[in-house]
């Protein structure tokens, strides 16, 4: 009984407290929460994502803030889903932020958005790719970045639009093999790939899941080899990507193209471990990286310059850029709403209409009823000479796509 009374009291406090969120914002500042994994296993890319948000805030404040009010942000450290919930509660109820930006990791985002949705506070997702985040019918959750389905579709479409023409072969004549690590990530992306490939009439001859902890992928490679697979689509982490490339070389398997879905394919570590000459020609679908034509991604060069000036190094991955782009889109929307009221912000977000190729990531922005950006399309990149360069679509390309993988 006592605990019930305490809970009721806390609830009463919460309700009583919420009206004061408005007046606090009117005093010259506007408060946002920045919810990322700042410590623990996800910290590296969590912090990289946060840097993009931080740069967007600084840029906006230097230009006079939102509606003449400076942006202030409070960090929340979401190490795991439990902590994401705890920190989202703290930000919404104790710090009384007007909106939360985040999160990099899908499991963290899925957990934290449940808190903000109940509290009626907008949640702007700038980096997590799991589709269900914007498929649960939530009213105040919005996402600028591409989802896992966008990744899978781009991979399958690239086979038809980029690889087949480059090889001079009809798409339906190419034998496609889908391989993926067998946790939720690999299952999700490969599931969308299968669906899309079927829709587009591609000939998928092998679908092989494997454990990311496997120390031997030669059975997978021999299966692909005996099936005569021309194009391999892989969804993988780092270790299994390295192992796959090394053992592919050992076994003398030479597909016409190998394409990955971000993850293990985008990092320099992977390329170094595999060797630049073996990684040569490997294709990769991911968030916009920095070797992209600035004409298709206006502001990308300036972003890199700002990043270097502030942190003293080159950006460590495309996550900062994606977060920077997303934060800017939502700052504009909040400014257009002229209020931090969740419903007015929603109306303003729904009105956002930015054509493709006019943001720093090269994406456009137009939101569905579910809050998902329908104009975020990941680019196709390729490892060439130890660098990851954008090769498709042509407007964003900085180099011509090559055919073949590795030195063999």
């Amino acid at each position: 009984m006592k605990s019930f009374a305490r809970a009721a009291f806390a609830a009463a406090l919460l309700v009583a407290a919420s009206p004061f969120a408005g007046p606090a914002a009117a005093q010259g500042t506007i408060k946002f929460g920045a919810l990322y994994p700042f410590s623990g296993g996800l910290a590296l890319l969590g912090d990289e994502s946060f840097r993009g948000f931080e740069l967007a805030v600084e840029e906006r404040n230097a230009a006079g803030g939102i509606d003449g009010k400076k942006i202030e942000f409070i960090k929340g450290d979401a190490v795991d889903p439990n902590q994401a919930v705890g920190e989202a509660r703290r930000l919404t109820s104790v710090d009384k932020v007007s909106a939360i930006f985040g999160t990099y990791s899908s499991s963290l985002s899925l957990a934290a958005t449940q808190v903000t949705e109940l509290a009626g506070i907008p949640y702007f997702e700038l980096g997590a790719v799991s589709d269900p985040i914007t498929e649960r019918g939530f009213k105040y959750v919005y996402r600028t970045n591409a989802t896992a389905r966008d990744f899978a579709n781009r991979m399958v479409d690239s086979v038809i639009e980029a690889i087949a023409p480059a090889l001079g072969i009809k798409p339906a004549d190419l034998k496609v093999g889908i391989i993926h690590e067998d946790s939720l990530y690999g299952q999700t992306v490969s599931g969308y790939q299968k669906t899309r490939a079927k829709e587009m009439g591609l000939n998928v001859v092998e679908t092989l899941p494997y454990s990311a902890k496997s120390v031997d992928l030669t059975p997978v490679i021999l299966r692909l080899k005996s099936a005569g697979v021309d194009v391999v689509l892989q969804t993988s982490y780092q270790n299994d990507t390295v192992l796959f490339f090394r053992q592919m070389k050992d076994q003398g398997y030479k597909p016409k193209a190998v394409m990955g879905a971000g993850g293990g394919y985008s990092t320099r570590d992977t390329m170094m471990a595999v060797g630049a000459e073996n990684m040569e020609g490997a294709l990769d679908v991911d968030f916009t990286q920095y070797n992209t034509n600035p004409k298709a991604a206006p502001g990308i060069t300036e972003f890199v310059a700002k990043y270097k000036a502030k942190y003293g190094i080159d950006p460590r991955s495309g996550h900062s850029l994606a977060n920077y782009m997303g934060a800017k889109v939502f700052f504009d929307a909040i400014a257009a709403a002229k209020s931090t009221d969740a419903d007015k912000v929603r109306a303003a977000v729904m009105k956002v209409d930015i054509p493709v190729g006019e943001t720093a990531t090269g994406w456009g922005a137009k939101f569905s009823e579910q809050g998902q950006n329908t104009r975020a399309k990941p680019f196709l990149m390729q490892w060439q000479g130890g660098n990851l360069v954008t090769v498709f679509p042509e407007t964003a390309a900085v180099a011509k796509m090559k055919v073949g993988v590795g030195s063999n």
């Binding site: 296993g41 590296l44 067998d182 092989l208 899941p209 494997y210 454990s211 902890k213 496997s214 120390v215 031997d216 992928l217 030669t218 059975p219 997978v220 021999l222 299966r223 005996s226 780092q238 270790n239 390295v242 192992l243 090394r246 070389k249 050992d250 076994q251 003398g252 570590d269 992977t270 170094m272 471990a273 060797g275």
Partner: protein, 290 residues
């Protein structure tokens, strides 16, 4: 047919890698009677050591085998002396908790020192492959196969024909009787644990050219090593060797003919069947010796 022979060859070579790791685990289990859950993390420590020797002194991983083996021997001996020995008369569960704790501590120490990134040694000849009668053999794996044979043969000679080897065998057979015969059992345990860890040291130097190292790399290998040890009769070095070959073959064949993600299912099913029908392992000496 060609594919089948290639898979069998791959399986044997893969098995030799498991063999080197499992022989170490068997030594520790068979003699000290401790299930060492930190075995995989010993491998990780050895791999980081080999990586550092390669990165700082340009040592080829194979050349770094000697310092890494010595380092791991020292690590194993220290763990036995200061962690396991005080708990030797305690309940078996307590020793398991101690090694599990050690494993978690080592993983997090590595995360702290190296981060979650992967490191690998510069490409070397070990990564290449040779063609023998149309079949592909990875050079680094051939080296492992030879080393696995040499290791088992060397340990056999050591156990059979040296005084220390005899003392170790006596201790393994009956601790109290050995004690009464004047064997310094505590010292034997320290040496045996050190030897088990040293085997992992050898494994890490051999594995390093083929696999990049991360803090969690140990978990990739160690579960299989446990299966191998049980399969091999838990205390038999030769059993561990043949057990590893069987697992290597099952891994390779089921990955191809069934499905790559189901190969673990196949060898754990095999593992369960053996536990049910021959609980002392394929090469065990019969009931009561496990």
């Amino acid at each position: 047919m060609d594919v089948l022979i290639q898979l069998v060859l791959n399986g044997i070579l893969l098995g030799s890698m498991y063999a080197i790791i499992s022989v170490g685990l068997t030594l520790i289990f068979g003699i000290v009677r401790v299930v060492n859950f930190a075995h995989g993390e010993f491998l990780m420590v050895g791999m980081y050591a080999a990586y550092l020797l390669a990165a700082k002194f340009g040592l080829h991983p194979y050349a770094s085998a000697i310092p890494v083996v010595l380092l791991l021997f020292a690590l194993g001996a220290l763990v036995q002396r200061f962690l396991i020995q005080p708990l030797l008369s305690a309940d078996e569960h307590i020793q398991i908790f101690a090694t599990v704790g050690l494993s978690t501590a080592l993983v997090n120490l590595a995360l702290l020192l190296f981060g979650a990134d992967l490191y690998s040694v510069p490409p070397s000849a070990a990564q290449g492959s040779v063609q023998v009668a149309g079949f592909t053999l990875v050079k680094g794996q051939i080296v492992m196969f030879v080393c696995a044979l040499a290791l088992v043969a060397g340990l056999h000679l050591f156990m059979q024909s040296t005084a220390l080897g005899r003392a170790i065998r006596a201790t393994a057979q009956n601790r109290n009787a050995a004690l009464l015969m004047g064997v310094k059992v505590d010292k034997i345990y320290v040496i045996a644990f050190g030897m088990g860890a040293a085997c992992v040291g050898l494994a890490s130097a051999l594995v390093m050219p083929l696999y990049p190292v991360t803090p969690t790399i140990g978990t990739y290998f160690v579960l299989t090593a446990f299966v191998v040890v049980v399969l091999g009769g838990m205390r038999s070095m030769y059993g561990a060797f043949f057990g590893a070959m069987i697992i290597g073959l099952v891994d390779s064949l089921s990955g191809y003919y069934i499905a790559p993600d189901l190969k673990e299912v196949v060898y754990f099913a095999l593992f369960l069947l053996i536990l049910i029908f021959k609980p002392t392992g394929l090469f065990g000496l019969g009931r009561g010796t496990e």
